[in-house]
Amino acid sequence: MRLELVPRATVSPAARLLAPIGALILSFALGGIIVALMGRSPLTALDIYVLQPLSDPWALQELVVKATPLVLIAVGLSFCFRASLWNIGAEGQYVVGAICGSALALATHGTEAGAWVLPAMLGLGILGGALWGLVPAFLRVRFGVSEILTSLMLVYVAELMLDYLVRGPWRDPKGFNFPQSVGFDTAATLPILGDGGRLHVGVLFALAAAAVAWVVMTRTLFGYRLRVTGDAPRAARFAGFDERRTALAVFAISGGLAGLAGIVEVSGQIGQLKPSISPGYGFTAITVAFLGRLHPLGILFAGLVMALTFIGGEAAQISLRLPFDLTKAFQGILLFCVLAADALVSYRIRLVRRGVLAGRAPA
């Protein structure tokens, strides 16, 4: 017995839409099995991971706050992945964005700096992330070095750089030797939306990024070029689309958005620099991008789903004493299921018995 893939002639739009949902249900089932193997009740886990956060208004706000960096990064990554370029170092670009933006927050700390600080911080975050992302892109177009490995290696470098800064030059002198910077001034903190809530202005950036990305992908020549480069590289070359410029552009976009996510998280959520400013948003965003089918609107939905796994994971850590690694394992399972579901959308699977030539009379 073996599997055979038969390409489908037509794919219904409904199937494309249902595939990620099916993948989600399957991964929840698999996650439940793991929870059961660990000797806990899957139903209790489902309650704590999914139902409780969704029924508590405070947790719902938290959900949107956690989804913000995921959506920002994943929207950027969708540009790369559509062009079949593999930026897997968004985590590093996020960290560098946070460092660059925070540099200004720390430099103006305690001064009467005006309202220009915050926009400048965000700009620096985008710039830093974009430059960090351009390194692998440049190495790829100039030297032909695989962007996969270089972008990933730079994650470690960025994290060590942050570690050095918060333990060394940027450490709060009054912080009892804790490795953390001073708390940001109000002028360097993202304003809260409404009164007393948890939502900060960064949430709007994520929505705006998704909207702009949707326009760029569907309504501009650049978006079209991108899809052709990814789906049919030869056709793109014949059409005279410059691969190098595309590569540099998508890495700058995804790096910039990851950098923005970094500074938004630090100035809107954490309020200071610490050695660890991300529970792996840059890597989770890869799953978010695929779960959202590389589509900006899908990514908004997928970002909320994955944010739920973070919040549920933290809750389960406390109430069920389930390690946070369960969340990571679940995210891996989910990515597998999404990819498999995509395959089932494009191919029909046929079981072939050994020795029989499929679909063709024996010669």
Binding site: V145, M153, Y156, D325, L335, F336
Partner: protein
């Protein structure tokens, strides 16, 4: 034991896991499969290897558990990329995320436990030779296995018919298929071999290198092994050289840190990763495409029937 000798011995310890993982990935890539899940399989090998060794109180059974766990993960990857023709890059990333998560779950109850050092070869007379004695005749079994494996892989790839088949599958799967070669079966075996090697490498980390389990202990070694394969231009001999060069650089960096030469420790810790980037750039200087990359590397195979 002189300082020099001690440094040489630690270089061997640092290089062995890299060599093991790189050899496995090299075979998979020669068959045309890019498996970015090495880091995840290695973490599983380390966690399950350690857990198995503690539970069964046997290093050998621990190593076996680690290898089986990594092979199971590799089979999942194989099912996705071969059975369903999913994108290899994305599937490999999924494997790394899943492997790191599962390893954390499995290893959690064993945090704090320690294992005794494993037996080293001892040949009276030879092992006691100054400087070279312990280096050549006093290593543990993993080291000798990794060296034999490098030779075996080189012999298999370039001197056997099966090796030729494997390489042709990786070079051009369409031609290989039309010649009647079993593309999918060859790739499945190559992926499983890669998993076993990554598992062995992970088990070495937790059972010999540190002798305890801690989350994140693979510290990017799986990724460095992937880079080594490129660096080695898909040749086992060069993978050996690369792994030892890299191992040496890592150890010297540790010694520089200990000697506190005025640079921040984070700068020195970042060196292995920066060195990887620089090595990849130097290697491809002036050439447009990666040297020696198998032609079908990373492309899914769906036969036209």
């Amino acid at each position: 034991m002189s300082m020099f000798e001690a440094v040489l011995l630690t270089i061997v310890t640092a290089s062995t896991p890299l060599l093991l993982a790189a050899l496995g990935e090299l075979v998979a890539e020669r068959a045309g499969v890019l498996n970015l899940g090495v880091e995840g399989m290695m973490a599983m090998g380390a966690a399950c290897g350690f857990a198995g060794a503690v539970v069964f109180d046997s290093t050998a059974l621990g190593v076996l558990s680690g290898m089986i766990a990594a092979v199971l993960l590799a089979s999942l990857f194989a099912f996705a990329v071969l059975g369903l023709a999913t994108n290899q890059v994305a599937s490999g990333l999924a494997l790394t995320i899943l492997g790191l998560g599962l390893a954390g779950l499995i290893g959690a109850p064993f945090i704090g436990a320690r294992r005794e050092p494993i037996a080293h070869l001892h040949i009276p007379g030879l092992t006691d030779l100054p400087v070279v004695g312990r280096l050549f005749f006093g290593q543990d079994a993993f080291v000798y296995v990794s060296l034999l494996l490098a030779l075996a892989v080189a012999w298999f790839l370039f001197h056997t018919r099966a090796g030729l088949t494997l390489r042709s599958v990786g070079e051009n799967h369409t031609s290989a298929h039309s010649l009647g070669l079993p593309v999918v079966r060859v790739r499945l075996l190559a992926i499983v071999f890669g998993g076993a090697c990554a598992g062995l490498s992970g088990a070495y980390l937790s059972l010999v290198y540190t002798r305890f389990w801690s989350p994140g202990m693979t510290a990017g070694r799986g990724w460095i092994a992937l880079a080594l394969v490129v660096f080695a231009a898909w040749r086992p001999g060069r993978a050996f050289a690369g792994a030892y060069l890299f191992g040496a650089a890592t150890v010297l960096q540790l010694h520089a840190q200990a000697a506190s030469i005025g640079l921040p420790s984070q700068t020195l810790s970042a060196l292995p990763y920066l060195a990887t980037v620089v090595a990849l750039v130097l290697l491809s200087l002036g050439k447009r495409r990666a040297v020696g990359a198998p032609g079908s590397l990373g492309t899914p195979f769906v036969p036209d029937r």
